[in-house]
């Protein structure tokens, strides 16, 4: 085959271009440590990377939801603990006042103590978390309970909320309720925990009137309220445990997804630099070949 000068130049140029292209590509990879820049770099990996990134984002959202639900449930549980403490205090007063050894003035003192407990219970029933009333169902922007008064004394409570259960998705298709409703009866006990306020009002009235049997009756009612509250606290605790377990699992999943994504789109730096060096050597060899083409032709030897 005849070899013409143009053929030689075209060959060299094609080689230089091919190696230059590879070199540029490797420089970009070594520069940012990524092997996926456009879909055509690896379209299967790019499709996977997009869905993986979506899955990571979703997972993070579920983790955020869990965190939000935990905070809300913890705030509710803390408030219910406070209410349980108030019931416990009411019980202690009722047990002491039920004895006939106390006179009217002591009973009146007890009644005032119970009155303070009632005021404190109102505060706790209207507990908020991040400016949301925790016990009002969906009605989170208005106080869950309002005071019913008669002659400047609290005689009862009006529930302003609704029966809304605030569901939070903690993994695909799995929701958990993050709020607690105190005005709904605990099924096994047929007692709504919020009843404790009425019980305390009744206790206060029994103490003021000095009717010992009535006081004794309220002891039983308060025990029932305590049982209902404890049930709810326990149920909230169960939900918190479930949230913790799900969180731990999702965190592991998150690590796995991140690793898979890195494997799909990251280029190990050492590998990228090594490949770059190799290609540089080849490119320099191609350049040297191009330089050799500048040698003289036969014309230079003719006289």
């Amino acid at each position: 085959m005849r070899v013409t000068n143009q053929m030689m130049y075209a060959d060299v140029l094609a080689n230089l271009q091919a190696h230059g292209k590879k070199l540029a590509r490797l420089q970009v990879e070594a520069g940012d440590g990524k092997k996926l820049h456009v879909p055509s770099d690896n379209f299967v990996a790019m499709g996977d990377a997009l869905t993986l990134r979506g899955a990571i984002q979703s997972n993070q959202t579920y983790l955020n939801n869990i965190s939000t639900a935990r905070e809300f449930l913890s705030a509710s549980a803390t408030a219910m603990d406070g209410l349980a403490t108030i019931i416990q205090s009411g019980l202690a007063i009722a047990v002491r006042a039920a004895s006939d050894t106390f006179g009217p003035s002591e009973r009146d003192t007890y009644a005032k103590q119970v009155d303070n407990l009632i005021a404190e219970a109102f505060n706790v029933l209207n507990a908020t978390h991040r400016e949301q009333y925790v016990f009002g169902g969906f009605k989170t922007t208005t106080a869950a309970f309002s005071v019913v008064e008669a002659q400047k004394a609290i005689t009862g409570a009006k529930y302003n909320g609704d029966s809304g259960l605030r569901k939070v998705e903690i993994e695909p298709g799995q929701t958990i309720t993050m709020n607690v409703l105190l005005n709904q009866e605990v099924p096994e006990l047929k007692i709504a925990p919020a009843r404790m306020l009425s019980t305390l009002v009744n206790l206060r009235e029994a103490l003021r009137k000095g009717i010992a049997p009535d006081v004794g009756f309220q002891i039983g009612e308060l025990q029932g309220d305590m049982d209902a509250m404890v049930r709810l606290v326990g149920e909230a605790g169960g939900r918190l445990l479930r949230l913790t377990a799900t969180q731990e699992r999702l965190e592991k999943v998150q690590i796995g997804l991140s690793n898979t994504l890195q494997a799909a789109e990251d280029r190990p730096m050492a590998q990228a630099v090594l490949a770059l060096k190799e290609e540089e050597t080849v490119y320099q060899a191609a350049l040297a070949t191009a330089g050799a083409l500048n040698r003289n032709t036969l014309f230079d030897y003719l006289r």
């Binding site: 053929m7 055509s40 997009l50 984002q57 955020n64 939000t68 609704d162 605030r166 695909p172 003719l302």
Partner: protein
């Protein structure tokens, strides 16, 4: 005797002339060593017609003939039509893939998805913001984050749709310029045809005109995938598809016309064969038409690649964006309408997204102005109810599309839908990558063939400087020898003229 001497001088002179001409041809080759389309030429030397020497004729009729020297029989053009034609065909395919690969690389650049900078990331952020709203539906900051995520998502879709539509417009404008190039080359070729026919009739050798003719044939193949053949009179006939572009001095011009101005229907593989997606300008892109009104069918060459790129590759990506945008808008709106905003307005029945098509997708201006209207609750006056927000966020994982990225009819999702909105978009991005890889591989493959054929053709038609140097040297030596022969005869003549009859003086 004198006849012999002067005959010898004449013979030497023919040699000098022939070698001079050979040197000129070598010079021409060297001068055009790098001229595109140049075919090297070679002088073919031959003997001149011999002269019968009557005085020496025998009675039998035999006799000797006196050689009359050398002459240039022809200046041969070292063309190799077989390679040329194969090369032209292959180049037209290569150019088509080159254009398609270029278009796809541009589209890839216009749909960036690297490092979470793309639509997929915006989609995930959008769904995530609804999730957050479902847990804290009364918080104005969370509501603003839903609105902002929606705005970012809509804008990212708008920008990409605008970019693609503008790219189609650019290609449309470029189509006009390429058609103009085709017409100019065709007009030049028609003129050249005439000159070649005249030159051949006069038994001249129009080598350089033939080179120019073949260069124009190659240019037309590159541009429009034309095919051509040479008629017996030396003129070239060039066709695109089944329509003649140039026949001798006649040219049928191509035109890029707006669909409204075109009476002819579009043809498969020709311009604007893909139905225009809503909200794009595809329906208004120019089509190719012949001067006589027939629709032009251009499948190969740069124009063929441009048409496929514009009407198939770019249009497919616009369609993917349209499907994404429409599904997103319809699905989100369908749920959003059922919900309620914050009290006291408790707005309901509102669309979240408005606008037809990917380029116009936007957040409802009412919601953009007042985030309280974002419907998170299923029940009126329930600020803590995020159940509608939760339903919207759950659209993220709902299977709504089929494997082709089309929204399946409502109610048939359980049997027909296999992909979520995000997965469907990821499929579209992966398909873009696959198409780009395919185009690049086809391009590489055809480029390798073109390179091989070019090498083979150049090995026959290309100029080798070493070879030309050897020819120059050979002609130079022959010239020197002829000059010496001439000198020898000159000396003989000198003897006759100057010394003959000088005896005894």
């Amino acid at each position: 005797m004198a006849n012999l001497i002067f005959g010898g001088i004449q013979t030497a002179l023919t040699a000098l002339r022939a070698q001079q001409q050979a040197q000129l041809v070598a010079d021409h080759n060297v001068a055009n060593a790098n001229t595109p389309g140049y075919t090297r030429q070679e002088v073919v030397l031959g003997t001149r017609n011999p002269l019968g020497a009557v005085a020496f004729n025998r009675a039998s009729g035999g006799g000797i003939q006196m050689g009359q020297g050398a002459q240039v029989e022809l200046t041969r053009r070292m063309a190799y039509d077989f390679y040329d034609e194969r090369l032209r065909t292959e180049v037209s395919v290569e150019k088509q893939w080159l254009e398609r690969a270029d278009v796809l690389r541009h589209v890839e650049a216009m749909l960036p998805e690297k490092d979470g900078s793309g639509i997929a990331e915006r989609l995930s952020e959008f769904w995530s913001s609804w999730q957050q709203l479902s847990t804290d539906s009364a918080d104005p900051a969370v509501r603003r984050s839903v609105r902002d995520a929606g705005v970012r998502l809509a804008q990212s879709i708008n920008e990409r749709a605008d970019g693609l539509v503008n790219f189609q417009r650019y290609q449309d404008a470029r189509l006009g310029r390429l058609v103009e190039e085709v017409n100019q080359a065709a007009a030049q070729l028609a003129k050249l045809n005439e000159r070649i026919v005249v030159a051949l009739k006069a038994e001249n050798q129009p080598n350089d005109l033939l080179d120019e003719r073949d260069r124009l044939r190659s240019q037309l193949s590159e541009l429009a995938g034309s095919t051509s053949y040479i008629q017996s009179d030396g003129s070239a006939v060039v066709s695109i598809g089944r329509h003649v572009l140039v026949a001798r001095q006649n040219v049928q011009l191509l035109r890029a016309v707006n669909p409204a101005a075109s009476a002819a229907p579009s043809v498969p593989g020709g311009a604007a064969t893909v139905p225009a997606p809503a909200g794009t300008i595809s329906g208004h892109l120019r089509q190719l038409q012949w001067e006589d009104g027939q629709a032009a069918e251009v499948k190969l060459g740069t124009i063929g690649g441009l048409l496929i790129g514009r009407d198939t590759e770019v249009a497919a990506r616009i369609s993917a964006l349209e499907r994404l945008s429409n599904t997103l808008r319809n699905e989100v709106n369908a749920v959003h309408k059922t919900g309620f905003g914050l009290p006291p307005a408790n707005a309901t029945g509102l669309d979240f997204f408005v606008g037809n098509g990917a380029a116009q997708l936007a957040i409802n201006p009412v919601l953009e102005a007042n985030v309280g209207g974002v419907a998170a609750a299923a029940v009126s006056a329930s600020p803590g109810d995020g159940s509608v927000a939760l339903k919207i966020s759950q659209l993220e994982s709902r299977l709504l599309m089929d494997a082709e990225g089309t929204r399946v009819p409502a109610g048939t999702e359980a049997v027909g839908a296999t992909r979520s909105i995000l997965e469907s978009w990821a499929d579209a991005v992966a398909a873009l990558g696959a198409d780009t890889v395919r185009a690049q591989r086809e391009l590489d493959s055809h480029s390798a063939i073109v390179e091989q054929l070019t090498t083979q053709r150049d090995s026959v038609t290309g100029v080798s400087l070493d070879e030309e140097a050897a020819r120059v040297m050979r002609s130079q030596r022959a010239y020197q020898a002829a000059a010496r022969v001439l000198t020898n005869f000159d000396q003989m003549a000198e003897e006759v003229v100057m010394r003959l009859g000088m005896v005894g003086r």
